[in-house]
């Protein structure tokens, strides 16, 4: 097989890439569903029903998509500048923990809207600092940020465990290890009545809009993209790589930290060590499926969320292990990688 670089990549081709990737992923996962003794078409119908079949299902899917939009944005901003932030999980948790710590009783007496903003900003700062460390280590010592951000995920989750069994333990939780709750007044109100979907979802969508503006309309966005495309050329044209990568790191970490804050303020109200079913890692897939486009992130976050919500319902109905959702997600990522490749290359006749 010989490959040649395409001279021109059409928008249509780029848009078909995720569709093809998801189709391939569902086909391969279908084989696994057959192995589980279930008709894959039936299983996928159940997933679809579970994710979009009722008002409740749709709101659950969007509730799940909310943190994924933010961790997806975190990954896409970083990856655009080729900063490999795999620490979304840790940044999510530190954001959640800070939200619970600050939002518990430190802000009493401050107007509610201002207090909510302060909680979110605190979580964003926490997430940003957590990624600033690995970014600094890479810029100063050349240490691969993939390894440090991954290791930090484990450290932070243990740290969360330590805090919620120690200083931040909820004394009224009957001995369960969970953090003190965020004050009732600081919780997001429902976006759709009698559902779990909260106003934090609007913030996530708004964040995507802001990131899209920064990436496409500002000179900083141009610098970040240039740094990702070719660091050498970017440096040669006078862009400070250190400064650009550091700012990208702060934005990316802040987004993942915000995801943690919004999940606590919108859904649970408190932090446990099982708060995230891998939102940070799933964010990487969300970003890749969207080809790192901030608008696309919203769509791919809803897709990934629907797979997980739908698979839970499907698993209850058919007995196929719900881990099939993780398989579909990871296969979509791998298929997307290959699909993107073929938008840039073609097989030589």
């Amino acid at each position: 097989m010989r490959l040649e670089r395409r001279t021109h990549t059409s928008t249509k081709l780029v848009l078909t890439a995720p569709v093809v990737a998801i189709f391939v992923s569902l086909s391969i996962s279908g084989i696994l569903i057959i192995l589980a003794g279930v008709n894959p078409f039936l299983a996928y119908l159940e997933i679809l029903k579970g994710a979009f079949g009722s008002k409740l299902a749709i709101t659950e899917t969007l509730t799940r998509a909310c943190p994924l939009i933010l961790t997806g944005l975190a990954a896409s901003v970083a990856f655009k500048a080729r900063l490999w932030n795999i620490g979304g999980e840790g940044q999510f948790y530190i954001g959640a923990l800070v939200a619970a710590a600050i939002g518990n009783n430190l802000l009493i007496g401050i107007p509610i809207l201002l207090a909510m903003v302060l909680v979110m900003i605190s979580s964003m700062i926490a997430g940003a600092i957590l990624l600033a460390g690995p970014a600094f280590l890479r810029l100063r010592f050349g240490i691969d940020e993939v390894v440090t951000t991954l290791l930090l995920n484990f450290i932070i989750i243990l740290f969360v465990g330590l805090m919620i069994e120690g200083p931040l333990k909820d004394p009224f939780a009957f001995g369960w290890p969970q953090s003190v709750p965020v004050d009732r007044s600081l919780r997001f109100s429902d976006l759709i009545p009698s559902s779990r979907l909260h106003n934090g979802f609007l913030i996530a969508v708004f964040a995507a809009l802001i990131i899209w503006t920064i990436i496409t309309k500002t000179s900083f966005g141009l610098k970040a993209r240039a740094t990702g495309l070719s660091p050498k050329a970017a440096a040669f044209s006078g862009i400070s790589l250190t400064k650009t990568i550091m700012i990208v790191a702060l934005i990316s970490g802040a987004l993942a930290g915000l995801a943690g804050a919004i999940e606590v303020m919108g859904v649970t109200g408190y932090v446990t060590t099982t708060l995230s079913p891998g939102f940070g890692y799933a964010g990487i897939v969300v970003a890749m499926l969207a080809a790192l486009h901030p608008g696309g992130v919203i769509i791919s976050a809803v897709f990934i969320a629907s797979i997980f919500i739908g698979a839970d319902a499907m698993s209850r109905a058919t007995g196929v292990p719900s881990f099939i959702a993780d398989v579909i997600m990871s296969l979509s990522l791998l298929a997307m990688l290959i699909a993107i490749f073929f938008t840039n290359y073609r097989i030589k006749k």
Binding site: L32, L35, A36, W84, I86, L137, F141, G142, I143, D144, V146, V147, T148, L150, L151, L152, N153, F154, I155, L158, F159, G161, L162, E165, G166, Y281, I284, V285, M288, P321, F323, I324, D326, V327, M329, S330, L331, L333, L334, L337, I338, F341
Partner: protein, 313 residues
């Protein structure tokens, strides 16, 4: 304080060090082999998870322990082939491909495990490896218990280190692998195919990683449960850097690391009033500190993470 020091004179601590080090030794050798050929293999965490599950499953379904290990290694090789296809044949991002395969391999492992063992039931166990007492030598005081009363795969790991040192540093094959990691164009000029060398290195390296994973379920414990690899793969990636890509140093890195791990486990019982999470954090914190300490003198293979395409510069 005295108690904390007394632990050090206990042979069972040092015996545990070698046992804890075994999966890391396999993993670090595998990661090192891939990187010496120029490819970062972040699929390691997933490959170790798959190895742990498949090794356990094979034995659970009736295979003997060594066959279980062989099947685990084969599963690792298959996943390695996938990583090789994506990163070498298609020259896609080694970071993203590796992470993608980690997500895929762990979710596939959990899925298959759940097909066999349903939710809510206790993890079924197998009869794991037993220590092999080497005649005479295992009777030696202190060192007998440490070095000559280990389980089969631990001896295999030590042999693998020696083979890796010999092959990489003393054979034409090793030279070809190292050169592929430094300058694949020079390899091509020698009439060798750097693409084939990279693919083979990744496949063999990934098989070693899976062996490391399978040790967890067939020797260290006797059952499989999700999340059991616990970042050991990432620690191996850190250890390779710590060892400046030298297999001998990587072995000592794994031992040093496992010493801290075994020591903190025992220290937890002696030192009270310190939250246990601080002890559990230590391995990950140490890995980061180690990376900072060696960063100045780290000698990275020149062509690590640089894709190679024929006729393209």
């Amino acid at each position: 304080m005295i108690e904390a020091l007394e632990i050090l004179t206990n042979a069972s601590l040092w015996s545990a060090v070698l046992r804890i080090a075994t999966p890391l030794i396999f993993g670090v050798l595998g990661a090192l082999l891939c990187e010496r050929a120029g490819v970062l293999n972040l699929a390691i965490e997933g490959i170790m998870t798959m190895g742990a599950m498949i090794g356990w499953l094979a034995v659970y379904l009736g295979a003997d322990l060594w066959t279980g290990l062989a099947i685990a290694a084969a599963s690792g090789a298959a996943l390695g082939l996938l990583h090789a296809f994506l990163t070498v044949s298609l020259s896609l991002s080694q970071h993203v491909s590796g992470l993608g395969i980690t997500l895929f391999a762990s979710s596939l492992a959990y899925f298959v495990y759940r097909l066999v063992v349903t939710v809510g039931s206790l993890p079924p166990s197998i009869e794991p490896f037993q220590p092999i007492k080497i005649p005479l030598l295992s009777k030696l005081p202190f060192i007998g218990e440490i070095f000559f009363s280990q389980m089969g795969p631990t001896y295999l790991a030590i042999i693998a280190v020696l083979i890796m040192i010999y092959v990489l540093n003393r054979t034409p094959l090793g030279l070809a692998i190292r050169m592929t990691g430094e300058n694949p164009h020079a390899v091509e000029a020698q009439g060798l195919n750097p693409i084939v060398i990279r693919i083979v290195a990744i496949v063999v390296g990934s098989a070693l990683m899976a062996l490391g994973g399978s040790f967890l379920t067939t020797a260290a414990f006797n059952s499989f449960f999700p999340e059991m690899v616990q970042g050991r793969g990432w620690i191996c990636i850190a250890l390779v850097i710590f060892a400046s890509w030298q297999p001998g140093k990587a072995f000592f890195g794994a031992i040093l690391f496992s010493f801290f791990d075994a020591y903190q486990l025992r220290l937890q019982h002696v030192v009270e009033d310190v939250p246990y999470q601080l002890f559990l954090m230590a391995p990950y914190v140490l890995s980061i500190i180690a990376l900072i300490l060696v960063s100045r003198r780290a000698k990275v293979p020149e062509a690590l993470m640089a894709p190679y395409r024929r006729g393209e510069r």
